[in-house]
């Protein structure tokens, strides 16, 4: 298949935009993983709930900023419920227990069940906030919308803010809990409170990701699983705990996915994506930046 400049630009734009969403999903995983060592398998459905709240409830009728905050708050509360019923009881028994794999999956099924009863599979559009739009502009042969640019900027901003948080006292406490939950407790850090805060933050982030994804992917009860899988791929490639790494990994995977559709068979997008992921992990088993095993306490 031939290749021209606009085609390359299409691939890069799609890769950056959808990669930013995958990166945000992976960042959400990281936020929850820090104090708990738990990978939240309900993250995709939390994002779906966020998107559906924005698209199919009266919240979407509020001014965009207020609606987004409301959605983030509601999803954060749902995540807190998850922490209470599906994570803390498991971690209370043992900080090294892996029962959370099944309990977070079970919680995701509960969310799916609730969504399946509330909404049909019809996708809903969410209009981006003024002055942004999904109308495509062409600049120097590159076609993009103002909303696509905003999604990339927000993803970068979220990672930057989390970087600031990471360097704060709270971030240090989180790393301490991640390194040794019981040891941190002996030093006066309350891991349970930190876990709760992380779930609130992770839930809010999932809500934000859903709000951001809805205008691009359309809000639908079926959107959570695909985002979960691709976000997990970005997490694996970027390295658990490395927010900048997972965002870059999200972009890489986004570009590989878009390129796979053009240069391989479009139907083999996922095959190309996961083959590339495997290859990267073979070369860089600890993630792109190799930081996964570094711990600064």
């Amino acid at each position: 298949m031939g290749c021209d400049r606009p085609m390359i630009a299409d691939i890069l734009v799609a890769g950056l935009v959808f990669g930013s969403l995958y990166g945000l999903v992976a960042v959400g995983f990281n936020v929850l993983h820090r104090p708990t060592n738990v990978v939240n398998f309900a993250q995709g459905e939390l994002i779906m709930i966020g998107a559906m709240l924005m698209a199919a409830t009266p919240i979407g009728g509020l001014p965009w900023g207020i609606a987004a905050v409301c959605v983030m708050a509601i999803v954060a509360l749902v995540a807190l419920v998850e922490e209470r019923v599906a994570v803390t009881p498991v971690l209370r028994r043992s900080s090294h227990a892996v029962g959370w794999v099944i309990t977070t999956l079970a919680f995701s099924l509960l969310l799916v069940e609730a969504a399946g009863r509330l909404w049909t599979d019809q996708p809903s559009t969410v209009v981006p906030p003024w002055p942004l739009s999904i109308r495509v502009h062409e600049v120097l042969g590159i076609r993009f919308s103002s909303y696509q640019v905003a999604v990339v900027v927000v993803a970068v901003a979220v990672v930057a803010l989390l970087g600031v948080l990471d360097r704060s006292r709270l971030g240090t406490a989180l790393r301490a809990v991640a390194a040794d939950r019981d040891g941190a407790r002996l030093r006066g850090i309350d891991p349970t409170a930190l876990t709760r805060r992380s779930f609130l933050l992770g839930g809010a982030l999932a809500g934000l990701t859903g709000v951001l994804a809805a205008p691009l992917l359309l809000a639908s009860v079926t959107m959570g699983l695909a985002l979960l899988i691709k976000g997990f791929a970005a997490l694996a490639v970027g390295g658990i705990g490395d927010n900048r790494g997972v965002l870059v990994a999200g972009w890489m995977l986004g570009v590989i996915e878009a390129a796979g559709a053009v240069f391989a068979s479009p139907g083999l997008q996922s095959v190309v994506l996961f083959a590339a992921m495997l290859l990267i992990l073979l070369i860089r088993p600890n993630g792109l930046r190799g930081l996964a095993v570094q711990r600064h306490v």
Partner: protein, 412 residues
């Protein structure tokens, strides 16, 4: 009166049921639970009803069963079947192929007179395979051609047009009616997408000695349709077959087309008008057509039958329709239930073999959507001439009766 049973049972209910059965057994009053139940010596028709009640798509499937519920109301108003109330056993298949063997086991134990559902090609294939050996009469909503093969599935009756029939109508519309020569196909990477894509390609070859200029296959969870649409645009496609069961995929494809100002004539298999379509320019939507049943269409001179109009009115009032009247009216279950009622009343029998023999002889039964005919070998009941092409935007016309019916496309 219709009595309902579900597959859910509380612990208390289970214990009470066990105690009752034990007591009856001890008294020697137990009867073998096989065949149709009896009430006062008169046979009672039992319907096995397979519908997703839980899972991600539970609400999405509700409109599809509205027709069946309305048919049930008809039966109830007529005093049931053979003068006895109809008993309905609802089974939750979660909308999943993996659930079908377990659901089939429960149905085989219940031995209903006939089975309604499941819905969805993959679910149907799993279900009919599991139920075939039990000789249970069934009609499910699956478009695969083999589901209408009377030799392979002698107890399954297909009251929907199959993918090959759809493909023929779609290809004819693009090539013959609209006179387009650069035909492209975009289809999802699924059993349905693959079979209809192949059927369109085959029809173009066999009937018009033509080849599609582009065939794009996308994965059902693809985030961005731009690459596929750009390939179609580059190939100069002027007529496009768009086949996906995922409404969001359709919207994303239309969005990519809008971004490129690429407006081919589109023929799809789905004419549901959803709110998300509001964002697209009218010229793009005016060129969007879809296969549908002739009985559900109108033209300037021709109106749908009074029965169709009455049914649409009832569908629009039903709480489960949830704005998806088009899905409700195109569902096969109203016609199937009414046909089964007719066959049961005519044969005065609930015996599956007798009913099967009668169904195999059905010739030109006028359903609300189309005429239905079966032979022992051909269980695909919809006649080719009853499949047509409708316009998407007619959903906005008053004649569509609230967006449920469609205007027939010019020239078909």
């Amino acid at each position: 009166m219709t009595t309902y049973r579900t597959d859910r049972m509380s612990r208390r209910g289970f214990l009470a049921g066990t105690a009752s059965v034990t007591a009856l057994g001890m008294l020697g009053l137990g009867t073998a639970a096989c065949g149709s139940s009896t009430a006062g010596g008169q046979a009672t028709a039992r319907i096995g009803w397979v519908e997703p009640k839980t899972g991600r798509l539970a609400a999405a499937y509700k409109p599809i069963y509205v027709g069946a519920r309305l048919a049930l109301e008809n039966l109830e108003a007529d005093g049931g079947l053979l003068g006895q109330p109809v008993q309905v056993t609802e089974e939750d298949d979660k909308g999943s192929p993996a659930s079908q063997p377990a659901v089939a086991q429960r149905l085989i134990r219940e031995k209903p007179t006939f089975v309604v559902g499941p819905t969805g090609s993959s679910q149907v294939l799993a279900s009919v395979t599991a139920l075939a050996r039990a000789k249970l009469i069934q009609s499910a909503w699956g478009g695969a051609e083999l589901l209408g093969d009377g030799d392979r599935f002698p107890y399954h009756y297909q009251l929907v047009y199959n993918t090959t029939q759809q493909a023929r109508v779609a290809a004819r519309f693009l090539y013959e009616v609209r006179g387009l020569r650069k035909i492209g196909i975009i289809a999802e990477n699924s059993e349905f997408g693959t079979s209809i894509r192949d059927a369109v390609v085959q029809t173009l070859r066999d009937s018009y000695s033509a080849e599609p200029v582009a065939v794009e296959v996308f994965e059902v969870d693809a985030s961005d349709m731009t690459p596929f649409v750009r390939n179609l645009e580059r190939a100069g496609v002027d007529g496009l077959g768009l086949f996906t069961g995922q409404p969001q995929a359709t919207i994303l494809i239309l969005r990519a087309m809008t971004a490129s100002d690429f407006h081919p004539v589109i023929v799809s298999h789905d004419l549901n008008y959803i709110e998300a379509l509001e964002e697209f320019p009218r010229p793009l939507l005016d060129g969007f057509f879809g296969t549908t049943y002739r009985g559900l269409t109108y033209t300037g001179d021709e109106e749908p039958s009074a029965e169709v109009r009455a049914l649409v009115e009832r569908i629009n009032k039903h709480p489960d329709t949830a704005g998806l009247g088009y899905s409700a009216v195109t569902s096969p279950y109203y016609d199937y239930m009414m046909l089964m009622a007719k066959v049961i009343e005519e044969t005065k029998s609930l015996d599956p073999a007798t009913l099967k023999a009668a169904l195999d002889q059905v010739d030109g039964y006028q359903g609300v959507r189309a005429k239905v005919s079966f032979t022992p070998k051909r269980h695909s009941g919809i006649a080719d001439e009853d499949i047509t092409v409708g316009t998407l935007m007619s959903a906005k016309e008053p004649q569509s009766l609230g967006g449920v019916l469609r205007r027939r496309a010019d020239g078909v």
